[in-house]
């Protein structure tokens, strides 16, 4: 009797923990839909989705890095740099496929550089990527002489407002990326190895996993995500802003962690990242609809992030306690 109850509470707790972002999101949406009738309009919903495309794809890469026990704080500035570089190429008349491939290749190369410096000199990724972020920001400003780049060709704007049938192209691209990353991180051997590195890199190495190679790949894939996110963001704003991407790495941390991928690595929830991005966007959107001052919105956003992390910590403590009790009662 006793045993059964603790088993059920473990399962329930686990379910809540795995889906906490979705649960908070649903609660939030329910409350907001009572407060305003403007929320559930197709235009508003579509808007919310279009606004998260770039940050979601960026967060997907970030999810992989965090799950592998590393961090990449350069993604925001890397995005800005790739945005400006590709916009300049597009304006100069370079054909679309070349520009698109360049975005991805530059991203991958930047990731390679991050990983190379951190691993070769055995430095903390936190500092390396923080510094590399400054480098990318500097390159960005040098490239465009601190001026934003407009007059993008139509194909570039397609990344912001294109449609395939009734579905906006950026949303489709984002969903495809989510699907690819779910398979890559949660279904392939590479994903397993990356998670093993995140869980215990020393043990992973002893198991015969080529940990150095895996971390290189992790950073490069993250860079590729940044490249695609840069195309999406630049396309949506229809110009490459010099400040684009700045600070986005912190939004990434928020949505990834809310989504259920812990900062400590070893665990991952790729779909949760999408939910996390949605939650953050829904908060701003609904506060907007309710006419709340944008400064207050920031405070609300911060509060929700802290709330989610407290929930995570307390929840896993509770879960541990339930488990220890279970082990003890089983002898």
């Amino acid at each position: 009797m006793e045993k059964k109850r603790s088993f059920d509470s473990e399962r329930l707790m686990q379910f809540v923990m795995d889906n906490k972002a979705a649960i908070i999101l649903i609660l939030f949406v329910i409350i907001v839909s009572f407060l305003t009738s403007d929320f559930f309009t197709s235009r508003n919903i579509s808007n919310i989705f279009r606004q998260i495309c770039a940050s979601c794809v960026l967060s997907l890469g970030f999810t992989l890095v965090l799950a592998s026990g590393a961090i990449d704080l350069s993604v925001g500035y890397m995005l800005g740099m790739i945005g400006v570089a590709t916009a300049m190429m597009a304006v100069a008349g370079v054909p679309a496929p070349v520009v698109i491939v360049s975005a991805v290749v530059i991203g991958g190369f930047c990731g390679l550089a991050n990983a190379f410096i951190a691993q070769t000199f055995e430095l903390a990724p936190f500092i390396v990527t923080l510094a590399m972020g400054m480098v990318y920001q500097g390159i960005n400003l040098l490239l465009c002489h601190s001026k934003s780049i407009g007059n993008l060709p139509a194909w570039y704007k397609y990344f912001g407002n294109g449609k395939i049938g009734p579905v906006p192209f950026p949303i489709l691209l984002m969903l495809v990326m989510v699907a690819i990353m779910i398979v890559l991180v949660q279904k392939t051997r590479f994903g397993r190895y990356a998670l093993a590195c995140g869980g215990n890199r020393k043990a992973a190495r002893v198991c015969g996993i080529p940990t150095t190679k895996i971390i290189y790949l992790v950073y490069m894939i993250t860079g590729v995500c940044v490249g695609i996110a840069a195309l999406l963001l630049t396309g949506r704003t229809a110009s490459a802003q010099t400040a684009a991407g700045a600070g986005m790495e912190l939004d990434c941390v928020a949505s990834v962690v809310i989504g259920g991928t812990p900062m400590e690595g070893g665990k991952v929830n790729v779909f949760g990242t999408l939910i996390g991005c949605l939650l953050i966007q829904v908060i701003s959107n609904s506060l907007n609809l309710l006419g709340v001052d944008s400064n207050w919105q920031k405070i609300a956003k911060g509060a929700v992030i802290i709330f989610a992390i407290i929930l995570d910590r307390q929840g896993s403590r509770l879960l541990d306690r339930i488990r220890v009790k279970k082990v003890q009662t089983e002898g």
Binding site: K187, R189, R192, L195, A203, R205, V206, G266
Partner: protein
């Protein structure tokens, strides 16, 4: 003998202290009685429970049961600060001084109140007090204004001792203070210790070195496997008696029948040299279990880590099946058919965030990987499930976190991880540490079976009965060298203990 001493008033008394970590018994009703003004040695192999007991006394760990009585009153310290206030200080094995600060600053760190002149620290008074303290303790050659980073390790230990004395400690616990000192430095340390004792301070001296403790201590208490074995007056005991007490004579564990080894040499190591070992040479044959005995820190694990590519080696040769191999990282070793269960399960064994299944399959995922690199979970589950049954890993299901398993089952899961690869050579570093007796017996049985099937096995263990019960041949390592080797028939605990302790 103990009966009549009970009437005596002890300064510190530990009674029936017990502590377990997640079901593993670290201390089982242990006792310790310290008189005023004595040097009391505490000895035992690693895992005997010495540090756990000291950490409980200092209020760093909570006890499960038992009493700590200080000056006749039961006490319960919540933190080391409480213990220090009550007159107990501990000097840890690792130096805990701030290297950039001066000797005087370090000694009075956190207790500057007595020197304040308004809002500022009275530097002169502090230095004078430090000088006085060092002089009183007979410590020469250290200036109060010197930066700690300029001192030798031995001098740093004296500064730590001075800090303990400056808190008016009546009891000072010293955790292996001599492990990194030269003979001359040890003499100086011992002189200061004797002086303190003569001034009524009690010193609890944790050590591994028997000869050393016999020269400095008044009494010695021995612990083994979390149990209290006994206390002897140093005048009435000798090295042989203590060794017997430390390693024990209990051959209670059931060891399986070990079949004779094959003829073919699988592993040959020639003059291997690394950071913690030199000129190590040995061989392992097919179906042979080779035991590596010695004290913790003698370099046994380091040798194995070198062979397996976890750490770098500086020189020497390793041959597998007669062919020289060059292992640069564990991956190379795994591909050559070697496997290693590492000493520290938490640090280099389990992946804590992963399930039992993921932990077991991680080394052979390649076999389960289909096109596009996608893992065939069905096949993975079947293989893991079969292995779990074969070596009887007890888990509700394979998807639970590995950390929810008992220590013994975690260890079996890790063994299973390697056995699925069917290695030629299996290195086991302390495979039964922190595991209950039942699981131990199962692991022994498994090792015996694997050897009978022809696997070459290296067994590193600090538990002598285990080495004696399982190995065909035994090497003893001391200070990074193989100092003794013998066959199973010749080996006795006393013989191995003598060579291990030097």
């Amino acid at each position: 003998m103990n009966q009549e001493k009970q009437s005596e008033q002890y300064l510190l008394e530990v009674k029936n202290l017990s502590k377990s970590f997640l079901g593993v018994m670290a201390l089982n009703k242990v006792s310790l009685q310290v008189r005023k003004g004595e040097v009391h040695a505490v000895i035992g192999e690693n895992g005997a429970g010495k540090s756990t007991m000291m950490n409980i006394i200092m209020g760093d760990l909570k006890r499960d049961e038992g009493e700590i009585i200080l000056r006749g009153k039961a006490v319960d310290f919540r933190s080391p600060a409480d213990a220090i206030d009550a007159g107990i200080s501990m000097i840890h094995q690792e130096i805990s001084l701030v290297p950039t600060l001066s000797v005087a600053e370090n000694i009075w760190l956190g207790r500057e109140k007595g020197f304040m002149k308004g809002p500022f620290i009275g530097e002169g008074v502090r230095k004078a007090r430090t000088k006085e303290l060092l002089d009183r303790m007979g410590i020469a050659g250290i200036s109060p204004s010197q930066a700690v980073s300029e001192l030798t390790v031995a001098q740093m230990q004296l500064v730590e001792l001075a800090r303990a004395v400056s808190t008016d400690a009546e009891i000072i616990i010293m955790d292996e203070p001599t492990s990194s000192l030269s003979d001359k430095e040890i003499d100086i340390l011992f002189r200061v210790m004797r002086d303190l004792r003569d001034h009524g301070v009690s010193i609890i001296f944790i050590t591994h070195k028997i000869e050393e403790l016999l020269t400095i201590s008044d009494r010695v208490s021995v612990y083994r496997d979390g149990c209290y074995i006994g206390t002897n007056a140093c005048a009435d005991t000798d090295k042989e008696q203590l060794i017997t007490m430390i390693i024990g004579r209990t051959l209670t564990e059931q060891y399986p029948q070990i079949s004779p080894p094959g003829e073919k040499t699988v592993l040959e190591v020639r003059n291997l040299t690394g950071e913690a070992y030199r000129d190590v040479s040995f061989t392992v044959r097919e179906g042979e279990i080779v035991g590596f005995s010695g004290l913790v820190g003698a370099g046994r694990s380091e040798i194995m880590r070198g062979i397996f590519g976890i750490d770098k080696t500086f020189g020497g040769e390793v041959l597998l099946d007669g062919k020289p191999i060059h292992v640069k990282q564990p991956r190379d070793a795994v591909e050559l058919g070697m496997a290693m269960v590492t000493e520290d399960r938490r640090d280099m064994g389990i992946i804590r965030s992963a399930s039992v299944k993921e932990n077991m399959s991680v080394s052979m995922l390649k076999t389960f990987t289909g096109p596009l690199g996608i893992v065939d979970v069905q096949k993975e589950r079947q293989t893991v499930s079969a292995m779990m049954q074969e070596i009887s890993v007890k888990a509700a299901n394979m998807d639970m976190l590995i950390t929810s398993l008992s220590g013994g089952n975690q260890q079996k899961a890790i063994l299973g991880r390697w056995l699925m690869l069917e290695p030629r050579l299996l290195i086991l570093d302390e495979p039964t540490r922190g595991i209950d007796v039942g699981a131990k017996a199962e692991i022994y049985r498994l090792i015996g079976q694997l050897a009978a099937q022809g696997m070459a096995i290296i067994l590193v263990s600090s538990e002598m009965p285990e080495i004696l019960g399982m190995s065909h041949r035994i090497y003893v390592v001391r200070d990074g060298r193989i100092v003794f080797t013998c066959d199973r028939e010749e080996a006795t605990q006393d013989l191995l203990g003598l060579h291990a302790l030097g």
